[in-house]
């Protein structure tokens, strides 16, 4: 039925099957929209955030998806600026994932503010000292760049491509893509960094606070590093997952392995710095605030226990770094995927503690640890973003030639 739209030479499932899948996605989306609407109409009392948890699930998810979506700019950077040509086989999906992650983050941010009607104040009355101002400028600009990067992929749809103007436009886009890649890299670099800065500058929140270089706290650089260490891993994971779901080969294993190598190497470097940073924080930053490590963790297990530290730095930090830098392990699919998965988990954990634990750590010696469980509306809003992501990836996969290698790899 939609055969004309499907790129020539590739096989896609039947339209009916596709519609059933899309139906499921739409259900998720609808649930998400309902939750979102409640938050917008009735206000943020629909969430379980409170005066101690001003930032909660949403900000964590924002930070998480923005880190994991870093595959877009970094793959672009490596492909167009550094010139690793092999990455052209995976750049399209990286851009789409990036678009979904950043778009989703932007959407959640817009819901997360108490007065969405005034969200533009951030641009109109900007406080240049605020990291959040930097974040919002960067994310808005970078999302525009991502749109520009996404556009030529859309224009490659066989029906659109028939139009001569579009064909030439698309070609030109490809020619000048390096400019956007460079711009995107620049913006995203600052975006990731300022997100780290958002927490690192909080000298009144010892859990998050870090000293730094010039105006940037160390978290600024650690966030960039951790983002580019996990972004490629997520791109790898999603591509691998798409192969499993569709049952088709989309990229050659060496491309996936390369992504794994990139992620692993960066994660390795990141872990070195992160461990030094953590040591410095424990030995110098916390005592300067009159606190000890024990004041920042609530026992060993349970919520906010030391296990989080062990998990973030050890189990999901050092171990995936070792797996991914080891060529022998990387060559085996199981280890590659496990390593990538653990890599993403570790970075997500980092974002989790930066957001949630820095809010939860009692600032007064006499205060209690507050507890927080997200409401269904908060999950639903995330569900909406997930729905949009699934929808965009599904449609893009079906109707756009995302994977240059697909035709060749599936030729029997």
């Amino acid at each position: 039925m939609d055969a004309a739209l499907i790129p020539p030479g590739v096989q896609r499932c039947s339209f009916k099957k596709f519609m059933v899948w899309i139906g499921f996605v739409l259900l998720l989306l609808l649930w998400g929209l309902y939750g979102t609407a409640l938050c917008l109409i009735k206000g943020l009392n629909q969430t379980h955030m409170n005066n101690y948890y001003g930032f909660a699930l949403w900000i964590f998810l924002d930070l998480g998806v923005i880190a994991l979506g870093a595959g877009a700019f970094f793959t672009g950077f490596l492909r167009y600026i550094v010139g690793i040509d092999k990455l052209k086989n995976i750049i399209n999906i990286a851009v789409i994932i990036g678009w979904c992650c950043y778009g989703g983050a932007l959407l959640i941010l817009a819901i997360d503010v108490g007065q969405p009607l005034r969200a533009w104040h951030i641009f109109w009355y900007p406080n240049v000292h605020s990291m959040l101002t930097e974040v919002s400028f960067c994310i808005t600009c970078y999302f525009t760049v991502l749109c520009v990067e996404y556009l030529p992929i859309i224009l490659e749809n066989p029906q659109l491509d028939k139009n001569r103007f579009i064909h030439i436009l698309s070609h030109n886009f490809h020619e000048y893509m390096f400019i956007f890649a460079a711009l995107g890299t620049f913006l995203s670099f600052f975006h990731q960094g300022s997100l780290g800065g958002t927490f690192g500058v909080l000298f009144t929140r010892p859990f998050a606070y870090r000293t730094g270089f010039f105006v940037w706290p160390w978290t600024f650089f650690l966030f960039i590093l951790s983002a580019i260490a996990s972004g490629p891993a997520l791109t790898l994971l999603i591509t691998w997952f798409m192969q499993k779901v569709t049952g088709r080969k989309l990229v050659s294993y060496d491309v996936l392995e390369l992504m794994g190598k990139i992620a692993g190497t960066l994660l390795f470097i990141y872990m070195i710095f992160k461990l030094i940073d953590t040591w410095y924080w424990i030995e110098h930053v916390l005592p300067s605030k009159g606190m000890t490590l024990a004041d920042c963790y609530k026992g060993w297990f349970g919520s906010y226990g030391y296990w989080l530290l062990v998990a973030e730095l050890g189990v999901f930090g050092v171990i995936p770094a070792l797996i991914l830098v080891c060529p022998a392990l990387r060559k085996r699919e199981f280890w590659l995927i496990l390593g990538a998965l653990m890599d993403c988990t570790g970075i997500a954990l980092n974002r989790f503690v930066m957001v949630l634990q820095s809010s939860a750590v009692p600032t007064y010696p006499f205060d209690k640890w507050p507890s927080y469980m997200p409401s269904w509306q908060e999950w639903a809003t995330f569900g909406m973003v997930l729905g949009i992501t699934l929808l965009v990836i599904s449609l893009s996969y079906r109707y756009l030639p995302l994977f240059p290698q697909e035709k060749e790899l599936n030729r029997n």
């Binding site: 007065q115 009607l117 005034r118 533009w120 109109w124």
Partner: protein, 724 residues
């Protein structure tokens, strides 16, 4: 025709034009304005300030009220008031009481449905007064005038005096004031043959022994005690006083006291006599009241039965503390022992007061600087006939009405809330009282079960005289004038009483209205020529005319610090109350100890007034360890909780011989193990959605204990805590 070029030009031009037009800015501006117009704002107006006196409790704090046009917006302390330096939280919430539409009663209400069903008909005042007068007239005609029961909760002694006069003129002796400390008045009557005001000169005391009196949480005149706290501890390193708080639970007062001695509940009398033992044994007593036969009797009995050695287990205090505190007490220059547990609204029994007051007598500190003070209030002096009558126990009377031992036809409740304080017995009594009329500004628990509800003005809307604040050591008189016009159909209860007595033809109430009565009193005080005007710390001579006196009294107060002078007629250490009391356990508590291993005690909080429901701001300030959602929290020691298998914050069943209630458990190191503290002041049926249905009325399960001497009060109960 639209060409592509033309279309593009149109779009680009339009976009450019829009950007450079004021439109986007206008829209942005409107958006901001739109997002601001969601909340109501206070209307501007001219600012003015008036003076008033707070009447939310018998503390008599002087206030300065801020008005914008005709709206009252804030209250502050009257700098001229000798009583208070700031305001207490209740006073600070005055504006919310004043304008609380859902609590205030707009018009006289006549019951239409069943009692307590909440169906009312709004009637005019004329009809309401007719109804009231005809009921009173019928009863009077039948000759059974004792069938009128008057339950008074007025803060002003003038209003109470008027009601008493009305009752006696009508022919009933069944007048009760809800705040009367029956036990104390029996004790004082027996010991000193005195009837009148009892004061404590805490300002000049240098050693305060408080037997569970929550001095900072509503005992006496709260605003004055807060000011005193500042005076005492002006330099906390060199305090002017040592405050020793004897209380099973660390109340705010205990927390701020110099020393906290956690005794076992209900043993205050034993502690006092144990201290007396040390003083007697060591012979350190002051000879002022000693030497008579009664003293010898007292001495013998105390030395025989109250050796601190034996009291250790009973009271929970160690012997060394007894000896040390007793020595400190009699070595102090101006020691004073204070009675009235909690806020002092619940009688602590005659025996307990006697035991505590005997300490004051042992150090000779009665009617002296820094001691207890006994004097006549202005109202008592003007109407001596009403002050000679001994207050009676309302709780017991209500019980007898319920048991049909006493006949009651009409219950006249004036600004009191007996349905809250006696939830069970008042309910029973109501079945035998055909007509209940309630004067109240608020829809309280009692108004809900009345037949006729008459709205009275809030203190800011009426003329009132404030006499000696509770616990004050000399007589005081001040006037509080209306600061704003009431927006409800209210009438002063004094005006109503005077109008009704005129119609009924009662004698001895010649005034046209309440204001006339106040003028009469001011003239009386002026003509006596005693005392002075107090403006802050300054004493000013009385003005030259009663008229001027009237206008002065609306900003400052009249006082007679010299009213207390020297000698008292007699002092009896061992009256019959003492002889009775030492024979038996102080308080009788029902129930078996096996079933109820713990002791339940009331916890009182300043922000939880009882007769008057807490204002929304006060409910908001309640910690979540008192009220969580709609669950009441009881305070227990962690040890007690683990004994019951419940954890902090969990729900549990609080069982007492009187019934059970679902409560939340709040574990706290500030209470003796084995004791359960239940907050008093919640669980109202009346008022508004901010208070009604929240928590439990502690009086439903707190035991109504009978003292050996015949005084009954809510003191404690046996209890158990069971995991749900």
């Amino acid at each position: 025709m639209l060409t592509r070029r033309g279309f593009l030009q149109f779009v680009v031009g339009g976009a450019l034009g829009a950007v450079f037009s004021p439109l986007p800015w206008r829209i942005a501006d409107e958006l901001v304005l739109f997002s601001q117009r969601w909340t109501p704002q206070g209307a501007p107006g001219d600012e003015s300030w008036c003076y008033s006196i707070c009447q939310l409790c018998p503390g008599g704090c002087g206030l300065k009220v801020r008005k914008i046009s005709e709206r009252v917006v804030q209250v502050e302390a009257n700098p001229l008031s000798p009583i208070n330096r700031g305001v207490c939280p209740l006073g600070a919430a005055s504006v919310q009481y004043l304008y609380g539409d859902k609590r205030r009663i707009k018009k006289p209400l006549k019951r239409t449905g069943k009692r307590g069903e909440g169906k009312w008909q709004e009637i005019e005042w004329a009809e309401a007064l007719n109804l009231l007068t005809s009921k009173l007239n019928d009863l009077k005609g039948s000759g059974a005038t004792e069938g009128l029961l008057c339950i008074d909760g007025s803060v002003s002694k003038v209003m109470s005096g008027l009601l008493k006069k009305f009752c006696y003129a009508y022919g009933t002796s069944n007048y009760f004031h809800v705040n009367a400390d029956v036990g104390a008045s029996i004790a004082i009557k027996e010991m000193q043959d005195f009837n009148g005001c009892v004061g404590f000169d805490l300002e000049n005391a240098d050693y305060v022994l408080s037997f569970g009196s929550q001095l900072l949480e509503g005992w006496g005149a709260p605003g004055n005690l807060q000011a005193l706290y500042n005076y005492w501890f002006e330099n906390p390193l060199k305090p002017k006083v040592k405050v020793v708080q004897i209380e099973p639970r660390m109340s705010d007062t205990a927390a701020k006291a110099s020393e906290w001695l956690p005794n076992l509940p209900g043993t205050e009398a034993l502690v006092a006599l144990g201290l007396a033992w040390v003083i007697l044994k060591e012979g350190k007593y002051n000879p002022r009241f000693t030497g008579d036969a009664d003293f010898e009797r007292f001495k013998r009995a105390v030395l025989e039965g109250f050796n601190p050695d034996k009291l250790e287990e009973k009271t929970g205090l160690c012997k060394d503390d007894f000896i040390r505190v007793a020595r400190e007490f009699c070595n102090a220059k101006h020691p004073i022992a204070v009675w009235g547990r909690g806020k002092g609204f619940n009688s602590t029994g005659a025996f307990e007061v006697l035991a505590i007051h005997s300490l004051n007598a042992l150090v000779g500190n009665i009617n002296r600087k820094g001691g207890t003070a006994f004097f006549k209030d202005v109202v008592d002096e003007v109407w001596p006939e009403i002050s000679t009558r001994q207050p009676r126990d309302l709780g017991k009377f209500i019980e007898s009405v319920g048991a049909k031992k006493v006949y009651a036809e009409i219950a006249l409740v004036c600004e009191a809330n007996p349905a809250y304080k006696y939830p069970v017995s008042f309910g029973n009594a109501l079945q035998n009282v055909p007509f209940v009329v309630t004067f109240t500004p608020f829809m309280n628990d009692t108004a809900l079960v009345s037949d006729l509800v008459l709205p009275t003005p809030f203190y800011m809307e009426k003329w009132e005289a404030i006499t000696t604040p509770r616990g004050f050591s000399y007589p005081v008189f001040g006037l509080s004038c209306p600061v704003c016009k009431s927006s409800y159909g209210v009438k002063h209860p004094g005006d109503v009483v005077l109008a009704v007595s005129k119609t009924l033809g009662l004698k001895g109430l010649p005034w046209d209205n309440y204001r006339n009565l106040l003028q009469y009193l001011v003239e009386k005080i002026w003509s006596k020529g005693k005392g002075c005007l107090l403006k802050g710390n300054k004493k000013v001579a009385l003005p030259s005319s009663p008229r001027q006196m009237w206008s002065e009294l609306t900003t400052c107060v009249w006082a007679n610090p010299e009213a207390v002078s020297g000698g008292i007629k007699k002092f009896d250490f061992a009256p019959s109350v003492f002889a009775e009391g030492i024979k038996r356990p102080v308080w009788s508590v029902e129930g078996k100890s096996e079933d109820y291993p713990f002791t339940l005690i009331p916890c009182e909080y300043l922000i939880l007034p009882q007769d008057l429901g807490a204002a929304p701001f006060l409910v908001k300030q309640l910690p979540d360890t008192v009220l969580k959602g709609s669950d009441l929290c009881v305070e227990v020691h962690p040890e007690t909780a683990s004994q019951c298998g419940v954890k902090n914050g969990e729900l549990a069943l609080l069982q007492t011989p009187l019934g059970q209630a679902r409560v939340r458990v709040f574990c706290n190191e500030c209470i003796r193990p084995g004791i359960i503290g239940i907050p008093v002041g919640l669980g109202h049926k009346g008022y508004d959605e901010y208070l009604a249905g929240k928590g439990i009325n502690a009086y439903t399960i707190l035991g109504y204990n009978e003292e050996a001497t015949g005084v009954a009060s809510y003191v404690m109960n046996k209890a158990n805590l069971v995991k749900i």
